[in-house]
Structures are given as C-alpha cells and as structure tokens.
Symmetry: none
Subunit: 217 residues, 2 copies
C-alpha cells in the first residue's frame, strides 16, 4: 500500500471546498459541477474527482437528486442567533427502545429560550409514542430536558430502564419507585430504588404543527 487513508485535505481540495461553501452560503444552494469548474478553470470531470475525494474524506455528501444535490454534514457556522435563545442539542428519541446519551447522532439542535435553561446543562429528545398524552406531551414533540440524576416526587423525568430511556412521572412509594405514564391505557412501572437511573428532568416542551401540502414523504 502506497498511502494510508487520510481525512486531511490537500491545498487544492481545501480551495475547492472553501469555494463551494462560500457559494452555497451566498446563494442559498450548492453549485453545479460546471459552476465549480468555471471558477477554477477546470473541466467538469476534474470537479467530479474533487467532489468524490471530498465525499470520501467526509467533507460533503453527494445526494442522488441530480443537480446541485450536495449536502454538508454538521454545522460549521453558528451565526447571529438571537440573544434570548440557546441551541440545545437533540440527542435521540425516547420511549421506544432507543438509548439516550449515545454517541452524538447529529440530530441537530433546537433553539430554546435561555430563560428556561438557567445556565444549566440541557438536551432535547424527540418524543415517540403517546405514553404522556394526558400530560399534554404528544408524539413528535421536543422534550427539553435538564441533566440531573435526582428529581422530586411528581416530576416528569427521563429514566433509564434496561438501556431504554422513557419519559415518565416519578413517584416514590415506601419500598419502590413508581414510574407513571400519563395514559390510562398504560400501566405504571415499578422498580427498586437502587435500580433507578434518572437522566434528567423535563423543563419544557416544543411542538410544531407543520402545514404541509401534497404528500409527506
């Protein structure tokens, strides 16, 4: 083997990537291979090679939607948001067998009113299922969670049970903990106090009603 796999970019690749980024930011959409080619006085085929190299190195993703279908992973830029809000990372989904606190899933961030956070470490989870409907928390809502390992009686908490995270009411009983769903068709979960693992406490809920025409994909 001649050369090992690298994620390092060559000077030329960096120039191309920079230009593509600049174009995308200025125009609101990525350039075509010929637009890139024109900027560097090279043929479409040369650009094609650059894009493949940049994709292999994880700098962009070539979609399969034809013209201009370039996607850029993660956020490189965090521009002027408003002062009153902070981006809160979305770390996963709850109540459906998916673990929380897993490796960063690149699910983006949700802007939350800074006043709600009180400067503490928070994260967001996308709610799945309707175990909390009676608490006015619906499937698809974003639950804003403050990281803490204790909570008060009656709080809505994120609890970890068998590597599954669930959103439930916390109720302490004499010799056990009751994790109560807010859904009459669901039974409470009883666990031993020493098995209780609280991942955080619910401090807020965000919901979006998307008005979509046509068919959702």
């Amino acid at each position: 083997m001649a050369r090992l796999f690298t994620t390092e970019l060559t000077k030329r690749q960096q120039q191309v990537l920079d230009w593509v980024h600049a174009f995308t930011h200025k125009q609101g959409f990525p350039p075509t291979v010929r637009e890139i080619g024109a900027a560097f006085h090279i043929t479409p085929r040369a650009v094609f090679d650059f894009l493949k190299a940049l994709e292999r190195k994880g700098c962009l993703k070539r979609g399969n939607l034809g013209a201009r279908s370039l996607e850029f992973p993660a956020a490189q830029k965090h521009e002027a948001g408003c002062e009153r809000c902070s981006p809160v990372r979305v770390v996963g989904r709850i109540a459906a067998g998916k673990p929380v606190m897993a490796a960063e899933d690149d699910l983006g961030a949700v802007p939350v009113n800074s006043e709600w956070l009180h400067g503490q470490d928070c994260y967001a989870l996308r709610v799945k299922g309707d175990s909390m409907v009676d608490a006015a928390i619906l499937d698809g809502d974003w639950a804003i969670i403050r990281k803490q390992d204790t909570a008060d009686d009656g709080d809505i908490v994120v609890a970890l049970i068998d590597d599954e995270a669930t959103l439930k009411y916390l109720h302490r009983e004499p010799r056990r903990i009751r994790l109560q769903p807010a859904n009459p068709r669901m039974k409470p979960l009883y666990i031993k106090p020493e098995d209780l693992q609280i991942q955080g406490k619910l401090i807020g809920v965000h919901r979006s009603y998307d008005s979509r025409g046509g068919r959702a994909r």
Copy 2:
C-alpha cells in the same frame, strides 16, 4: 380592472411555499419544479405558475442559474444543520376576553425556531384556560401563530368573536362554521361564515415547566 394587486397568498400557494421551505431546510437546497410537482401531483407547468405567482408576491426569487436556483428573501439562508431562532412578539392572551392585535403590550418576545416560521409574519399568545386540553395545549403555554385570514378544515385557529380572541378547531359545516374547543366539558361555538374572522393559524406550542415541578408562572 378585475382584481387589485395583492401580496396575500392563496391557500394553495401557501401550501406550496410551505413545502418548498420545508424541503429546502431539510435538504440544504431548493427543490426542482418536478420535485414540487411530484409532491402535489401536478405538472411542472402548474408548478411554474406557482413559482411565478410566489415570486410576484415577494415570497421567493427565481434565479437565472438553472436547476434549483430559488432564493428566499428575509434573513433565512438554508444551510443544512444550522438551526436558528427568531424572536416572535407576544401580543396578548387568548380565550379570556382580551383582544388580540391590540397595541403593543410590551409582553416581550419568545424565541422560536426559524424553521417553523418560513419567514412569515408570526406572533405568540399566552394561552389562558383549558379549552384546548385535549389538543395538548395547556393554560400558560405559548401558542405560536402565523398571521393569515384563511385556514383549512381541522386547523387550530385564532378566531375573533365579539372582539374576543379564542383558540379553536375550525370546522366548516353546510351553512355555518363550527369552532370546536378540545375539551369535552365545553360546547362548540357556531357562527355564520360571514362573521368568521380568522386572526391566524397555530403553527407551534412552547411550554415551560417550573423548577419546582409545578407549571411555570
């Protein structure tokens, strides 16, 4: 002259614009006319008409770079993974005899995910009462409203009745409009179609839980 120039969008135009915004934000680049057409089951030519109408009304700009060259005015640049927020003015309370659209009450602003707004004129209302509990909207929640004077059947709207603003489900019936609360203990309100004054449509909900476990202020 038959009809005066308007910047108001029709219901259908609004649906198309919403879909285009959603696509752009999700993909990082705008859709092609055929992608829009596929979503609404219409021909490219019909989409072309919509884009021209939306351009005339200032909702977007068709570039001259061929495929996907749509630009959106206002602040919103759609870069993948970069979510931002915009401050949305709080203009009052609802469902308790207080008028909306009153003089600025200096109730502050709520930061809302820009993704939800689609660059359109929105405002926030503090919910009072439990007329919408079954729709998972509680007393004290912030209702994020998009200003519009029409809505689809089944939408949750802000309707003005005798100078009072209420949040209700909109249902059109043969000779009347039914404004339905989401609370079994409350009766629907029937009004004549010509008396219906829609102030906006619910696009989002924000809720904050107090640190003591109860509800925020």
